[in-house]
Assembly symmetry: C2
Homo-oligomer: 499 residues x 2
């Protein structure tokens, strides 16, 4: 009876190939659906251009932030915070062609949002929204750019900015000078090696373009090309101006003479006498302010690191006066080929900023202006350098906890006593750890202290409990001494203060 | 000649109405495009459910964070940081029906990303990715939920979480007890008024459901209904179980008896003897651990605030053992009608957490498990309460800067001398401010000190410069004394230490 045969018996031999094929297809489909047990294979990674910070990196980060915040507070700054995303329209029209690097949120109904691209635009929005015309504030937070990451060199898609800004109508160049003083203090304190701070002024650049014969509508694009001088030769920059941007050869050559100039107050004085430059009112205003700036920098004793450099242009559109940029002159890996920093910041750049007197007015319903000047410390590159230094010095020297004492025991069945003593120490404000084991070995408790740099061990035993004492051990010297239980907290505080 | 007439002359009078209509339409379109002058009207606001922090709010925030971080460090924790967004698939399948509240980023090419919804899932991803099986870490960062904001009550779409977690295979209930000790310490130190910490165990809940006759496949959904007991009456909860979730009336009534129970170690002991409860192996395991937990809590002296409460369920799926939640029992505005906290956290909830032994295994390619227990402090509500308190006390008492001394002058033309002295103070580590005016009035300089709480003023004048002294003024007492310039830094440090 044919119907009793298994169904595959009804196929002829040639069909076995077809069956194998079908089986293979089904297995492939199963694999696509997640393999056996429906166990989904996660991609175990962070998003492109981002990273986790492990405890050692966090310890370094905390130290750097403390230095920077300490400086900002020394200069009397308050701090604010803004949300990580803004209405998309708040960011529109602020970053020129870099706008394509903004992260947008998915439209899930409601408002259209974007991740902040810097802290300056949210700051300007905050001032306009709250009608604030006077503030000195710092803001340390992450910003987001869909850029090509170069993570080994400290270039990420999610990165910290440390911004300090002074908003308000004041006498010229005094807040501007303080911003430069702050850069000088922070870079000195962080001990990153020698550095230089280049200074220029948008009015000087624009005046220079005018007297060199650059048409008005080409100022910004020629400015962008000049901005490339820190990583392209003059020949290449000149060629871009003439061939790509359509500038005349004469104009380009005249620009070439100016942008090779570097100096200090003397250069500003010289250019004020320059036959061509002095024809531009704008340039003269910028040069007069540059002289004044340098006189304040002399009072602040920071002129050793500051250079008036006519080739400094900076990428962002919103600057209206003084601009500056700090670069490390040693240290760090060589630039990658073709790499170009954000905002026209050169590869070695660790800080930048300038005056932007028009940005708040872009947000104010009545166009009311609030003059602002500020600086942004680009901290990721600093982290990279300090992490590499820590690596070289040997990583065991970076402590990731602040634990002062480990509560241990040499004998069994003392968990309760250990927990009780630990709670006593916590309640007295002592930083204390205890192992989460009923009967840990003394050696493993001591080993943990060695590994994580805990300086003291409070050891409990039957005898100590009977005598009302605790054996206090110095991990480094291995010396031990019995301390009265009632005096333990004071003794630990004394020992810690001595270290 | 008809063709020489203006074109509108060819319309008859009736058509003027049509023209007016067309003009109105065009004007409307023009208005939509931004009105006259092309001046775009920005919507000056932050995204829905988010807020800026002004300097006063930041000062409060800093104080709260210092308290919390101080506690975490006292317990020997390291810290890590993770990116604000994760691969979308990392968050998939972790939050049950709350997944709809996740913010996705727009697909701009490349990976699909989402903003983190909590710090626990990124932590588990971090552990699996780095093959870490042992760590005690804290993480303070913002998380994002597209929830209905209730901002006056501290419910935002962008908000901080302060997480402390212990990962590792340890003896039972020791790390769990430390988490509760930490909640107790932090809530006591923040002085938010009286509080209570409810504790339960997922194994006790599941055992209870089993012995009450809840079918296996209804455990999670019945658990969600139980979770509503802190803001719905038992009658309403019972009705939801029976009518919406199809539970039998007998089962519901049996659950009703258990979930009304509250107590301590004694309750755990009593339930271990309970004829029905003792039939569940799971419940017995949970109850035995609950007894052990309370014995450790007694050693930590925190049982005054901790209650074993069988109605505590918590929303998140990933808990596997002990769960807890801290509520303030006084203080703060009344709950809004129908409001329900995230993760099933009650409205007055300020901290919550529990044991999640399976989450890391969901990320590990080999399913390797890392047992974890942790707690999350919900800081926004704490901010709300402390901000209201500051408001009541009078806002002038919250200082937003730490400036110690204002460098001032009573006479004109002393800007240079003021800047020089200010720089000297900065270089000596003194927190100093100077007015950005050439010739500010002494009164306005003193007024600034009063307004922002600066305790000292260093006053320069022609006579003082001649005599090599500085007049140091105490803003509060208005006393003035001449101090030798060379001794100024020491004198300021002494005065500050005395305050």
């Amino acid at each position: 009876n044919v119907t009793n045969l298994p169904f595959w018996n009804t196929f002829d031999v040639l069909n076995f190939a077809t069956i194998d094929e079908e089986v293979a297809k089904l297995l492939e489909l199963k694999a696509q659906l997640g393999g056996d047990e429906g166990k989904h294979q996660f991609t175990l990674k962070t998003a492109k251009g981002t990273r986790d910070y492990n405890p050692k990196q966090m310890a370094i980060r905390e130290k750097v932030f403390n230095t920077i915040i300490g400086c900002f507070k020394r200069h009397g700054a308050e701090t604010i915070d803004t949300p990580v995303f803004e209405l998309k329209e708040t960011l529109t029209g602020k970053y020129g062609e870099d706008s394509k690097l903004i992260y947008d949120l998915k439209d899930q109904g409601g408002e259209l949002l974007s991740l902040r691209y810097d802290l300056t635009v949210p700051f300007a929005r905050y001032l306009a929204m709250n009608k604030i015309s006077n503030i000195k504030r710092y803001h340390i937070a992450k910003v987001y750019r869909r850029d090509n990451p170069a993570m080994t060199r400290g270039r990420y898609r999610e990165f910290y900015q440390c911004d300090f800004d002074i908003a308000g109508q004041y006498d010229p160049m005094i807040p501007d000078a303080e911003c430069l003083k702050i850069v000088h203090e922070i870079l000195s304190e962080l001990e990153l090696g020698d550095f230089r701070i280049k200074v220029n002024d948008r009015r000087i650049l624009d005046g220079m373009f005018a007297v060199c014969g650059v048409p008005d509508d080409k100022f910004r694009t020629i400015c962008s090309t000049v901005d490339k001088l820190d990583k392209m030769s003059w020949e290449d920059v000149r060629s871009e101006m003439v061939k790509e941007k359509g500038l005349s050869e004469e104009a380009a050559d005249q620009i070439g003479q100016y942008v090779s100039m570097q100096g200090g107050k003397d250069l500003a004085e010289r250019l004020l006498q320059d036959a061509k430059m002095s024809q531009s009112k704008q340039a003269c205003a910028g040069l007069t302010d540059m002289k004044l700036l340098f006189s304040y920098l002399e009072l602040f004793q920071v002129t050793d690191k500051v250079v008036f450099d006519l080739s400094l242009a900076r990428g962002l559109d919103y600057y209206t006066g003084v601009i500056y940029e700090a670069i490390l002159t040693q240290n760090g890996p060589a630039p990658e080929a073709g790499e170009k920093g954000e905002e026209g910041v050169s590869v070695g750049s660790v800080a930048g900023g300038g005056r932007y007197d028009g940005l708040v007015g872009m947000f104010d319903p009545k166009g009311r202006k609030v003059p602002c000047v500020g600086v942004s410390i680009g901290i990721e590159r600093v982290f990279s350098i300090l992490e590499q230094k820590a690596e070289v010095r040997g990583s065991e020297k970076v402590r990731t906890t602040e634990t002062q004492v480990m509560v241990a025991s040499a004998q069994k069945n003392l968990l309760e006593e250990r927990l009780k003593l630990t709670a006593e120490l916590w309640n007295a404000g002592i930083k204390a750890e205890v192992m989460y084991k009923k009967n840990p070995k003394l050696l493993s408790q001591l080993q943990h202290c060695e590994d994580s740099g805990i300086p003291l061990v409070a050891i409990l035993g039957e005898q100590e409990l009977k005598d009302g004492v605790v054996k206090l051990r110095d991990v480094h010297s291995r010396e031990e001494a019995d301390v009265l239980r009632a005096e333990l907290v004071e003794e630990i505080k004394k020992r810690i203060a001595d270290v």
